[in-house]
Assembly symmetry: D2
Homo-oligomer: 432 residues x 4
């Protein structure tokens, strides 16, 4: 949640987003959530296959609750919630707002029904439209800024809707298809080259126009030694070499925690991979498909990313290294906007010295533990729970994925997951 | 599954059920499963709230798979299953048939959809009708008997559909209502009296016409000392006295295992009870209601039943005692056929010496561990897994409940659950 | 704990045990506990390898606490305990006496030291001798009976000391030896024959002179159908045949709970067995030794006993069958008195129709769930917790083992363990 | 394990430690391990109260195994281990050396006995003395460096012996005393003041003479913003204010993981604290004592340290901030050499601007995740497993504690534990 330093999130966003713009963005973002649901059956909205996964129904309602709670109720103290029980059912983790229905049991609920959740969305959307129709009132109360946060928040949940659904479908022997997509034919990856960066004191953190979360602030200095960064992501083909070389059997490549995890969970390959008659297949949102060696490897944990890098004689980049290098490349790659829902092979040869695939395709694990930037302070109140309280034991990922909206990502964007997590579109870029 | 001694289940049933009869029963039983689903939303079919609970969708498909596997495929070796994956998805525990999708993850599946499951039912029903239209073929192959088992099997799952749904709905703060029913006004229970039975060598087990499961056979002798049996079930009002007297806080009433369970799970009352402003309420299939003191106490574990009996200076009956006493009373009580889905208070005064409420209302815990009768042998093949392999660590319950079909129950019927189980309609009858 | 019916435990024992006798028994039993400790190092007294196992130190102190609490403190209300903390540390499960140090953490304590525990024993022994020197006082207060219980109680713990130590030593790659013993050379078992018993109404339960526990009372009638009982125990050699025939891989032999346990725990053989270069070895209190095929199979769970019996086309006996058959045979076999600490092969040929090995060697699993006899009532007060509260979910074993004192066992003796338990000397006798 | 960059650990140490020195250090360090055991009973050496804790016996043997494996066996390929099974029993986590007896079961072993472990130490010490008597041979083979590592390694285990024993004794209702020590009378803490440091590019990591571990290398630059550091540690008295203010009940102070941990484990105070009649006591190695408000708070997790800092409107220092500030203060404080085994109050008033209590007393949590320094490479072979593979999910602590040897600590020393760990002497210094 934006914020920190001098300018409040509200002020930051207000400076650059005229209210009409926000109202239009609201329609765009909100309708995209519903568009993502088009291929679903009612049953698909209900299920939770592990505590990290939430039912689609829950995502749709929770993002709506966010607007209802932090905008509508804030705008009008007499606001009457759409349903009195939703405050508890659809609060994710905001202790300051009130108690929460237990996360691991979200999949135990059958009501409100999908239809009722869509009605809830419609109800809140109508209230929101009425509110946004009065730009002065929004601006005066600082609500524009909160609406901006709510829209980026919904984009985050759009990504989770896809990754959670993928996890749900992957448990089913029927291997349901979310959307059938053509396979990119290219199976020959671009050559791995190295982009070099000199040592120096770098500016890290957000400083541009537009929106950012509070965890990207304040902009500050960090000294970075000289380093090389791979010009593309590690591919499936390369990762298969690691497997063939006994990667999952040789302790010496692994962090101690990683090795314990490999033994306890019996990991032999990335999540969603399976071997059939000597060939590797993986489960995708387009169903079960033979693995394309040119595609970026995906659904690996931090442990696997680190072990692969060590095996390759390299290491993972720090987030400062990654961010410094990301200033050059264009913000292109496979995003959710492209509707392929799967990372894509790198183009054959880079036409300049910049690394490719920095944005979209897969989130790139960095070696940086998720921590506050020097001088960081979480905003006051419930909104301060958005990011700050999670700054412990997780690792930073950068660049977005094929499930991220193009308008959601930026070079300073910090995503974070636990080192054992694999259900996001997470991959590997080497440094040395 | 019936069987044992001299006559095979097939032979037993064939003797008394002319095929036309079976075809009619088939329609009755199968359509009742679907009738029970009428109040449901699509989402309600999907969820599993604990490993013991199965989604409604699964019950509907599993009972269908039973006919497909044990009748259609047995009748015609060229039979092609409706869907190749259903054999694994809808096999409950028949190792002889093949592998089973893990039970605790039945709620992780969103496909086949509810609509597809109903289509599966329709497909199998059509095949079954075609088969049953040729009585000679059925009789010759012994399929009539298996169809009979399949129908009783489906009735068991109809009961589970209701108890599983109750568990699902009870987790939801919205407290969904399955079916709204009027409350019986009577709050003054019949007086507790005792029916006395002399000692003697008794015949135990099934010996009549019609269907029985294999675990009711063979009929055999058991010596039973003289005993008294309460003429009605323990009521909510009586159980509240136990609670008020510190029943859940005083170790001396409890079996050691029961006391550990009370402490570990924090039990303070039967399942589905809650206290609000000093009044007890319970969750029913008609929603949350104040507790009627005259109704039989329900959703208690064996531990609670035993502790209550001990507190009351009595004990639970053995199954032999129960069965001997059940010869007298008429087979009446609240059944699923009555569509109240909740146990009912006993009529004021018994007009004869027979105990009341022996059938329907609540399953009655006996003090008998579920064990094979002397001379019992499980049938050969997969059908032998129906009952025999569960004869360990469970306790026998008798008499059926308000979720049981009247045509499903009989005096010799042996139900069985683990002593900590509470989600069935289980109650208490005292003996001494 | 004796009791029930007409005569109280105190009265029962008093009738037959003149006080001088008890004082002598006291010395015999108490000193035997210490004799069993002779081969131990100090470190061996301290360790707990699973919740069921208690450190030797604890057994020595707990049995002493029993006399201190139920005799010395009962005899003299001014009695001052040896140490105020011992009441909590060495109370096993008597809720009526007070709180208990958590059982799974008994191995977390290093104090009182072994030396202090022996001093505690000595202190209590001196007080006990002083008390027993006044037979009239003992008799008047009914303390003789309680002393009798305390001595049988200590004999039970002597058996546990050995089985618990065996478990402790077995976890150690150094395979410590408790006591080196010669191996019986005989490797050719007696032929398996069957003793036949006619149907009839049998008297079950204790009725003789001398001591019995409350769970053996009251004597009552049970109808038993005609049956055959194997004349000797199942041998290692026979059990190896079961293993070779895929016994642990074929679900059809197993109870459902047993099969789950086999899969979850990866059982492939009885506890303490290991295969080395194609030969089976087992860990014994004399160290690791090649398995003697003529010895009774040992350290099997109820599940394995039941599966073996099913595989062999037989079944386990009920406790009534076992007890009826036990009237004939002499009470001989390998006991702890014989100091071999391991079951012994059956003598070649029975010289009469009686079954052999009914007593000593291994506890024999029966198919009977541990339940109160008709008319059973637990004694009042703490002593009532001895047996009654455990009558749930366990199975009865009969006959004693090579770790049982000869003077401790009798035909009506009921031991009980959970069906998955294997660390006792438990074996199999077939019935049909 | 020293190493990295240009100079190998061997070379680094060899440069400054003439072999005679090492032989003398060997005697000093080894005998100190045994001196720490003087107050122990045999039983105290055996027990393990949680997986993190190892029995004293194990520490004594493991440190010996370290010399046997990495020095004696390396020096002489014909070296015959003292006992063939010790390689597995006393290997902690060196996968490259071979398999390890499972860590959580170290407390399941009663053999080798304490006496045998001391004999093992004596045997290896004699071999080591013989080897060190030939300085040229040691130097040529680089063994001097490894011996140096082995000695620092043993010092680390000396600290663990004390903290593990404290955990063991604390579980015992008898509250055993390790060593009786006088209580420091002072209860009035020094005033909390702030030392200020300007921003700048700082040199971080080891660069002096003498020994360091590999994780302190290579020395490198880090940019540090201006900051203040508290001149003393947070006291018990201050922490009691936090508790009184509802610190453990108010989610807003806590990291999300910390709050979950508080709820799950029911934390209400630091480890070893208990409240009796409104007064706080804590368990120390001198037994149970009333809490001295002037002493540094101790046995807090990272979560508690972070929550306290947040409540106080401050934060924890980064390790770079701590290290930069540590250049000034003298290396004094309470160490294990002082034999008080408990942190001590700060002297009343600082006589200069330097922070006090930077060394000894308690390990100070920093906000820095334990990660490799830029350019870090773990040494080759088994010794490379010493530090590198643990650089994940843990947090760095600085400065040593009252259980650390004065000769073991230095400003660049990096200790690391998981954020929930509390059994070390861990405390809090504020930054802002």
């Amino acid at each position: 949640m934006s914020g920190a330093s001098s300018a409040s999130p509200a002020e930051q966003i207000l400076a650059h987003h005229p209210p009409q713009d926000i109202a239009a963005q609201y329609e765009t973002v909100r309708s995209f959530s519903e568009k993502l649901c088009e291929p679903l059956e009612t049953e698909d909205y209900v299920v939770q296959t592990m505590p990290d996964v939430s039912p689609t129904r829950w995502h749709l309602a929770h993002t709506t609750w966010f607007f209802e709670t932090f905008v509508l109720a804030a705008a009008d103290t007499a606001y009457k919630p759409h349903h009195p029980a939703f405050a508890e059912l659809f609060n994710s983790y905001y202790n300051a707002v009130g108690p929460q229905f237990p996360r691991p049991q979200r999949g135990h609920l059958t009501r409100p029904t999908v239809k009722q959740v869509f009605a809830y969305r419609q109800h809140v959307d109508e209230q929101m439209r009425r509110l946004m129709a009065d730009p002065d009132r929004c601006r005066a109360a600082g609500l524009d800024a909160v609406i901006g946060i709510g829209l980026h928040h919904e984009q985050q949940h759009q990504e989770l809707m896809l990754t959670d659904l993928k996890h749900v479908f992957a448990q089913n022997p029927l291997a349901p298809v979310y959307r059938q997509r053509d396979v990119r034919r290219q199976t020959d990856p671009a050559r791995l080259r190295w982009a070099s960066y000199a040592e120096g004191l770098r500016q890290i953190g957000f400083d541009g126009d537009g929106f950012c979360y509070d965890n990207e602030l304040p902009r500050h200095r960090a000294f970075v030694e000289g380093y090389d960064l791979a010009t593309r992501l590690v591919t499936n083909g390369e990762f298969i070499e690691f497997i063939k070389d006994g990667g999952y059997q040789r302790h010496e490549h692994w962090l101690s925690e990683g090795w314990s995890t490999v033994l306890e969970r019996g990991w032999q390959a990335p999540l969603y991979w399976q071997q059939r008659d000597g060939t590797w297949w993986n489960f995708t949102l387009s169903g079960l498909r033979p693995i394309n060696p040119a595609e970026p490897v995906c659904h690996v944990s931090y442990y696997e990313a680190d072990a692969y890098a060590r095996w390759a004689g390299c290491r993972l980049p720090t987030e400062a290294e990654w961010e410094h290098a990301s200033a050059g490349p264009r913000l292109d790659g496979a995003f959710v906007d492209d509707a392929c829902y799967h990372p894509q092979p790198a183009v054959r040869e880079p036409d300049d010295a910049n690394p490719r695939q920095m944005f979209g395709d897969v989130w790139e694990w960095t070696s940086s533990s998720y921590a506050p930037y020097p001088g960081y302070r979480a905003p006051e109140g419930a909104i301060g729970e958005y990011n700050g309280k999670f700054m412990c034991s997780q690792y930073v990922l950068r660049g977005g994925s094929c499930a991220t909206s193009r308008s959601h990502i930026r070079p300073t964007y910090r995503n974070f997951f636990y080192p054992a997590d694999r259900w996001q579109f997470t991959g590997i870029r080497l440094a040395r």
